[in-house]
Subunit: 147 residues, 2 copies
């Protein structure tokens, strides 16, 4: 029941970028330093978020990354559905590898599916904008700016 | 977002025992053969379910394990809350190891907590009895008995 490091880092990167003024560029280096997270991992996260169309990269000197989509249009439920690669709650969720003989008569899979859907319905209520409401406070924490 | 093998095996063992007539003993050996799961792992699962007061062991020749609690009184939500050992959805869920500088202002933890609670509220609606309704069919699958 834990999210992957990739989901965790994706959310943090989007919050960081969402806390900046629209259009302003950030570098993976500064995000890595701000959160004290691996630059390598964050580089991969930036690449994946780019592929999802959520951030864009400006190359060259003075370049960096920024949101391509407004924070209020980045739904957290949709994001986590994409960044989590393993929803195999129990063996039978993967029909390729499932060997559980109960499968034809078991109601457990359906119950766990319903529970997972309830989980996402809650996350669907949130966008990145909900987590960057207090921009001044965030800036003082993330960008080391005085309040 | 996957459950541990321990939770998966616990649910399957309880379904197996719940499919038996009340009071009838099963052995870990037969459950292991029926599901084609590791006997070692199932032995540990039986031990833990015993500690939770859900199954009891009759020792000696002809001994075995059986439910100590009726299937309709084994709530799936309560069980999974106990068998899952890691609800650390993101780093800040563990206050001992959390290093995320966002924590003081971040609303993400609260959103993920709400989502997790919604997940369990669904599982709370189920008991093991819901998964052993068709005892004849289950018996034919699990105990290799003709329909």
């Amino acid at each position: 029941m834990r999210l992957t490091m990739y989901t965790d880092f994706s959310l943090r990167m989007l919050i960081y970028l969402g806390a900046k003024e629209p259009g302003v560029l950030s570098t993976v280096q500064e995000i890595s330093e701000s959160y004290n997270l691996s630059k390598n991992h964050l580089t991969k996260v930036a690449h994946e978020l780019g592929k999802l169309g959520l951030i864009e990269t400006v190359r060259g000197r003075g370049g960096g990354i920024r949101l391509k989509v407004e924070p209020q249009n980045i739904n957290v439920g949709s994001l986590v559905r994409k960044t989590e690669d393993d929803f195999q709650l129990v063996e039978c969720f993967n029909s390729n590898t499932n060997r559980c003989i109960l499968s034809p008569v078991c109601g457990l899979k359906s119950a766990l599916h319903k529970a997972l859907e309830a989980y996402f319905l809650v996350l669907d209520e949130y966008t990145i904008a909900d987590f960057v409401v207090d921009k001044d406070k965030l800036a003082s924490i993330l960008f080391d700016q005085p309040l």
